[in-house]
């Protein structure tokens, strides 16, 4: 069966996320980060940040919601039962700080078949309230037996 590819290039509506200080702290604790820049406003400012700063991988918290509609889109047609998260890349720009309003858009970059597996590649771009890009994500999902 040929894999459906008509969703390549499709974009989905943006989502907006306001970064909160305690949410940054919650994330930081789970991954074992204890630097005061993730918990304390004065420490973050002393280190040159606008406010309490998020760890880089906190980007999943504010960017993943934009990917939801893409993943569940019938035009994409991924078989979730056979899907694994195969690869991930993030490129960071301006740091995400408490109070930032981050808007994320998502797009389907590629769908292709290789060795009997379907590869579904999505891109998210997250921009803060000043128009600065905070992170660009490339998400690769692999579906077995397409």
């Amino acid at each position: 069966m040929a894999i459906k590819t008509e969703a390549i290039g499709k974009e989905w509506p943006a989502t907006t996320y306001e970064v909160g200080k305690e949410k940054i702290g919650e994330y930081a604790r789970v991954v074992g980060l204890d630097s005061p820049v993730h918990f304390d406003r004065e420490a973050a400012k002393a280190a040159g940040y606008r406010d309490v700063v998020a760890p880089p991988m906190f980007c999943v918290v504010y960017s993943a919601p934009a990917l939801g509609p893409a993943m569940f889109d019938d035009e994409v047609g991924m078989n979730f039962a056979a899907m694994v998260h195969g690869g991930q890349e993030f490129e960071w720009g301006e740091p995400a700080c408490t109070g930032d309003e981050i808007t994320t858009t998502s797009k389907c970059l590629e769908i292709f078949e290789k060795d009997g597996k379907g590869f579904y590649v999505f891109e998210t771009r997250s921009v803060n309230q000043n128009g600065d890009e905070v992170v660009k994500g490339t998400w690769t999902n692999i579906v077995r037996g397409v």
């Binding site: 949410k23 919650e26 994330y27 604790r29 789970v30 991954v31 074992g32 980060l33 630097s35 820049v37 993730h38 280190a47 040159g48 940040y49 700063v53 998020a54 760890p55 880089p56 991988m57 999943v60 918290v61 993943a64 919601p65 039962a81 694994v84 998260h85 195969g86 690869g87 991930q88 890349e89 993030f90 490129e91 960071w92 740091p95 490339t138």
Partner: protein
């Protein structure tokens, strides 16, 4: 950033996620996929038990990578990983890395996250700026 040279090993990161860590990561990240938190569901879809979130392990790789810049979160400019083996709770994760290239104030570090012989993340490439 301490002087980095090609071939240098970064400081090893070791962490043993406890039984409830996937629940806390689910809450922190918003990813409540039941394969990470519900053993019955995980077994019903053919997994040995609940598995760790891949993005949690990527978070550990990010943490190990920023340590070379004194833990400054702004130092990590890019991180690319491939998820391979599945990670299990209550098993020690070891993140290791080797400096692959250095150009000006940026270094590229090859990293691996493993539980014993099971490499859960490999071909990870972190770009760190001083």
């Amino acid at each position: 950033m301490a002087e980095l040279n090609v071939g240098d090993q970064i400081a090893e990161l070791r962490m043993t996620p406890d039984k409830y860590l996937p629940h806390r990561y689910a809450g922190a990240s918003g990813d409540f996929n039941p394969i990470h938190i519900d053993p019955e569901f995980a077994k019903a879809v053919g997994l040995p038990n609940t598995i760790l979130h891949g993005l949690f392990m990527m978070g550990l790789v990010a943490r190990a990578s920023t340590e070379v810049a004194g833990g400054d979160p702004g130092a990590l400019k890019r991180l690319s990983v491939q998820f391979r083996g599945m990670g299990a709770p209550e098993t020690e994760i070891v993140v290791t890395g080797t400096v692959k290239s250095v150009e000006g104030d940026r270094a590229v570090i090859d990293t691996v996250a493993a539980q014993g012989d099971n490499q859960t993340i490999r071909n990870a490439e972190a770009e760190v700026q001083a």
